[in-house]
Symmetry: C2
Subunit: 257 residues, 2 copies
């Protein structure tokens, strides 16, 4: 895999290594302080926020490319990652990041520069444990930051729309398959799990019914331990029964909320 010394070298000469005209955009969800968050980055020589993105090597499976891009950005391996949509409007790249960066830097790139073409982008969403992410700068980005899902900054191109679509997809998946293993630390309480569901769905749920339904899925283990040092009554800790969780993920379950 080639190494690039600078973002501009990449922008000028990266084209020969990648599948042309297709990018990957990652919506990385994390959960912290009872809030669903998205990892955004500030792009160099550009004024706004964007999604962590990348390209597909010519001999690389797209799922592998998405995993690689995620790993480069978060340091995590084996992330839960799912393709959810391909965005392919003709005009989505009219104000693309590279074009604006070139303008800002007064670089005159050839019009056939690979990054100045119209791109389709494959949207992937990732679920990660907020605390174990070690978001790292790379040559493309100045700054990484978690943003609350319902308080996003203005974003580049159609990235705002991509986040919304990812959230909709996640919300749908929540109904038919287990979610949580990838977003929560190993041990968590039932109220914490509920808060996760509530922020994804964007609505309050009944505490008792939630617990009953969650337990009926038979993917949780209640531990002997309770969460200590908290105000009020100490809640039990749970963890996922990974085997049953995987089965449920594969087979799905029927439900409504």
């Amino acid at each position: 895999m080639p190494e690039f010394k600078s973002v501009n070298e990449f922008r000028l000469n990266g084209g020969k290594y990648f599948v042309p005209s297709v990018s990957i955009d990652c919506v990385i969800f994390g959960f912290h302080d009872n809030q669903l968050k998205v990892l955004l980055l500030k792009v160099v020589n550009y004024h706004g926020w964007g999604l962590p993105a990348g390209f597909i090597y010519k001999e690389e499976d797209i799922d592998a490319a998405a995993q690689r891009i995620l790993q480069e950005r978060t340091g995590l391996h084996d992330i839960f990652l799912q393709q959810f949509y391909i965005f392919g409007n003709a005009n989505r790249c009219d104000n693309n990041i590279t074009k604006i960066a070139f303008d800002n830097l007064q670089i005159k790139a050839k019009p056939n520069n690979w990054l100045l073409q119209r791109f389709l982008t494959v949207g992937y969403y990732a679920l990660v444990d907020f605390k174990t992410v070690n978001a790292s700068h790379d040559i493309f980005s100045e700054e990484f930051e978690w943003h609350d899902i319902d308080c996003l900054p203005t974003m580049a191109m159609d990235h705002g729309q991509i986040v919304q679509q990812a959230l909709l997809t996640l919300r749908t998946h929540l109904r038919y398959e287990p979610v949580g293993y990838n977003l929560l630390p190993e041990k968590f309480t039932m109220p914490e799990l509920q808060k996760l569901y509530e922020t994804i769905l964007g609505k309050k749920l009944d505490r008792r019914n939630f617990q009953r339904k969650m337990l009926s899925y038979d993917i949780l283990k209640r531990l002997k331990q309770r969460r200590e040092g908290v105000a009020h009554k100490a809640p039990y800790l749970y963890s996922f029964d990974l085997k049953k969780y995987s089965t449920a993920l594969k087979d799905g379950f029927q439900s409504a909320w």
Copy 2:
């Protein structure tokens, strides 16, 4: 839009008009004789069956490209069409149709020929009224044919897998949104609608419960007419209340089977 005189001219020179490395594959579902069917084509200079496919013009939205491709193939406008997955394994084009055709015809194309590259393909599924389709030959295909969903011929590349994925998607959508308007003629009977559901789901449903649930969605109008000239008791004809149908399609509905 350019016109090509022959498939080989297209294969050799078509590249400059299209987004490189991305194709569109269409899984066209129809319903006839109580069977769910898929429209397949036999490709010229190739030994097997494939999905109707096409490419995206450089200035064209992908959804528009899919609509155009469908229209070229079926003669139908405003088809129900939905993107469902992007297939991007690196090796999916190892035995691609063009390569084999070139070999068969002993054409020596340049290795950088646009069609000999690795392609990603965007899968769309379409629901069409079997009877109004007028599948037309074009320069790429020798023969169009409807195939029963559970009796498909050996297919090119990963097209078999693409059909299965489309079917799975349709099966899922069936649970959460109305299906039928696009697959059935304007007037149809409840047993016909049920047969459609049964073939998509691949299982028998209870007649009485099916009717109750279907009516509860409040998207059907029962007509005064009955189907005439059939053996046994004449069933009522129904048609969809298009306004309510559209609303339901947008909002979805919750359900299980």
